[in-house]
């Protein structure tokens, strides 16, 4: 007993000292750096939020219209009146449509790359998808505005003829519509969602898949019972990253979607503006702090919107995780 304790003491003290002395320098520096980096991110986000608030509040105080429900936008002059109802609607609906188009395709591509394609082809395919993510959004904007629009117009007319009785598809539409912008947005977020989904699907434990195969499952049944449930949280977070990009996309939206004034319409085939595109459009004419503040207030709402989207995604992922494990 005593000898055991004695040996353990002898063993413990020098090794503990040695580990302590080496840890002290390297560990401390590293710990300091990582805490610093973490704190930096928090500080930056807080600084952005504070900047937006401080600059937005004076303009909001002078606002003659209801900021959340009004459709007017006259932020300049002696009696500024501005509201974000239109911006919020177009931002949300264009991003949702983009998600509806992009996520199923992304999941399909990711499954194809992980489960169906021969291994030697998977790599070049994946590289091609990643390449799509590297294309700058201005290029998508130009391509969309000058090439894709012509083709989308006929698709849009067809949908309008067939489903025009649904308010979101009602006509008459314009070629430079929210729908057209959404399709370009979906192409932009496709590679992000695909790349992340592919990573997650590839991590499916072989045991799960083999168990399904052993029970006589077909390939599709393996995907349905093993791969998809395992990958679901990953796909959701991938989609949320894509949604974040869609919500904040500026230049492609600016190029593609035309503005339509007049009565409000639920239709996707009419034009509109998102938060980001309106701010970018008018950025050259921010001549007074009050006017700038109105746009900053709109930016603040976009900031909060993306925050909310991420928070919802977190909650969903946590719940799914508990379910699958």
């Amino acid at each position: 007993m005593s000898s055991t304790t004695g040996r353990s003491e002898i063993d413990a003290s020098p090794s503990g000292d040695l580990a302590g002395s080496t840890r002290r320098i390297g560990d401390r520096v590293f710990a300091g750096l990582s805490v610093g980096s973490g704190a930096f991110v928090v500080v930056v986000i807080a600084a952005v939020a504070i900047f937006l608030l401080v600059r937005a509040v004076p303009s909001l105080a002078h606002n003659q219209a209801d900021f959340l429900t009004s459709r007017v936008w006259n932020p300049g002059g002696a009696s500024p009146a501005f509201g974000i109802a239109d911006l919020l609607w177009v931002t949300v609906i264009s991003s949702i449509v983009a998600m509806v188009v992009a996520v199923p395709i992304s999941i399909g591509v990711a499954l194809f790359l992980t489960e169906y394609v021969p291994a030697r082809l998977a790599r070049p395919f994946a590289a091609a998808i990643d390449l799509l993510a590297a294309v700058p959004s201005i290029v998508y904007g130009l391509w969309g505005a000058y090439v894709v629009l012509d083709y989308l117009d006929s698709v849009q007319t067809w949908i309008g003829d067939a489903f025009g009785w649904i308010p979101v598809f009602s006509g008459p539409g314009i070629p430079n519509s929210i729908f057209a912008g959404s399709v370009i947005l979906s192409i932009m977020i496709l590679p992000i969602v695909t790349a992340l989904s592919r990573e997650v699907f590839a991590q499916t434990p072989a045991a799960h898949k083999e168990a399904a195969l052993a029970l006589g499952a077909t390939r599709w049944e393996v995907v349905r019972t093993a791969v998809l449930p395992f990958g679901r949280p990953g796909v959701i977070s991938a989609s949320m990253l894509g949604l974040g990009r869609a919500l904040g996309e500026t230049i492609a939206v600016l190029f593609i979607i035309n503005v339509v004034r007049g009565d409000f319409s639920w239709s996707l085939f009419t034009g509109g503006e998102t938060f980001a595109s309106r701010i970018a459009r008018d950025a050259g004419e921010f001549d007074t702090p009050e006017k700038t503040g109105a746009y900053i207030a709109a930016g603040l709402v976009l900031f909060l919107l993306t925050f909310a989207v991420n928070a919802v995604a977190r909650v969903v992922i946590e719940r799914r995780k508990a379910f699958t494990e």
Partner: protein, 379 residues
């Protein structure tokens, strides 16, 4: 030509960097040779050539004109560096009043009424920036705004201000409307729906187009002119390029764009009949509108009040006059010399004629002589 300029700039940069190296090094053969080459480079420019650097910022409407002028001006004065940053009139005036740039380009003269929330007026702020001296608005670049259209089978179209206003406000909706047909007897007008395109971004082009409609067709256009398009019909597209593209790709499309955009996109350009006969848009007919304008400033402050309703034959009335906003006094001496040199260059008849090729109006001699007098008075 471009190549030689680049080469010259490159040579200058090389000589300059060598000269810098020479400063830091002791006597040796390489430093001697480089300093002589540096001296040779600076000696090669003539004594009259200007040097230094000059920064301007502002209106996008005059960007192409100023860029063109800068390119040829710096060819003659290789040691001068002039830059113009087209960020928009509002931003340009802000930078000028803040002292960040030496001159501003603007679609409208400095405002004299107090700013939002009781802030100092632009004119007062500019005076403060110029150490208490007046800032002058010099009309140097004028761009005609064209009513560009795309109607199949219609090569020539005459419109009156009242009809233009009704088209853009959605009161006339088809191209074979009697109001249009009456002005274009002989033309076969289709029943195509009119698709109106306007600028969705805030723009001096919009403001000037609205000023024209409000001035020439006050009964039809009642909104107060502003940088935001007042109409509710049609589609707004981003920038002149977006409007021109929209008109070009839509049969029955019509939009107001700077002339150069209409030319580049091969749009039909409507002739405008203010009551003195139809006038085709040309550099000269648009320049005459500036000549016909009334001076609204005092002395050498050459702010203009355009007569939009003018019935004088041969005057194309929809013109956007852009100003160069400069300090009458108070700029550093070397900058003043360069600024005067550059402005005089833009105000030359030859330069103005060159601007016609890229879609600007040619300012008539009467206007140019006034501008030159003002430039001479800058000290």
């Amino acid at each position: 030509m471009k190549l030689s300029r680049t080469a010259r700039l490159g040579g200058l940069a090389l000589a300059g960097s060598l000269a810098l190296v020479a400063c830091g090094s002791d006597n040796n053969s390489s430093s001697d040779s480089s300093s002589t080459s540096g001296a040779a480079a600076s000696g090669s420019s003539s004594a009259a050539a200007l040097s230094g650097s000059l920064d301007g910022e502002g209106s996008t409407a005059q960007k192409n004109a100023i860029d063109e002028a800068i390119a040829t001006f710096t060819q003659n004065n290789p040691n001068a560096k002039v830059s113009y940053n087209a960020t928009g009139s509002g931003a340009g005036i802000k930078s000028f009043n803040g002292g960040q740039v030496d001159w501003a380009g603007s679609d409208s003269a400095l405002k004299t009424d107090p700013g939002d929330g009781g802030a100092a007026s632009e004119t007062d702020a500019a005076k403060q920036r110029c150490s208490g001296n007046d800032a002058w608005n010099l009309p140097l670049v004028a761009g005609p705004i064209s009513v560009g259209y795309n109607v199949q089978g219609v090569d020539k179209l005459v419109l009156t201000p009242s009809v233009i206003a009704q088209i853009f406000l959605g009161k006339i909706t088809t191209w074979n409307d009697p109001a249009i047909a009456k002005l274009n007897s002989g033309a076969t007008l289709p029943s195509t729906k009119i698709s109106v395109f306007y600028r969705s971004d805030e723009s001096g082009t919009t403001e000037n187009f609205e000023k024209y409609l409000a001035g020439a067709a006050p009964a039809d256009f009642t909104a107060k002119p502003s940088k935001v398009w007042a109409g509710k019909t049609g589609q707004g597209a981003a920038k002149s390029a977006g409007v021109a593209q929209g008109v070009k790709s839509t049969d029955g499309g019509v939009g107001y764009v700077e002339w150069s955009n209409a030319k580049d996109n091969k749009l039909g350009v409507a002739q405008v009949d203010n009551g003195g006969g139809a006038v085709e848009l040309s550099a000269e007919s648009a320049g005459k509108a500036v000549e016909a304008a009334q001076p609204a400033g005092q002395g050498n402050d050459l702010r203009l009040k355009l007569d939009h309703a003018t019935k004088t034959p041969g005057v194309y009335p929809i013109v956007l006059v852009t100003y160069e906003i400069v300090c009458s006094k108070g700029l550093a001496a070397d900058k003043t010399a360069l600024l005067k040199g550059f402005l005089k260059y833009v105000a030359q008849a030859d330069t103005q004629k060159g601007l016609a090729d890229i879609g600007y109006a040619t300012l008539p001699d009467a206007v140019l002589s006034k501008v030159n007098t003002a430039i001479d008075a800058i000290s």
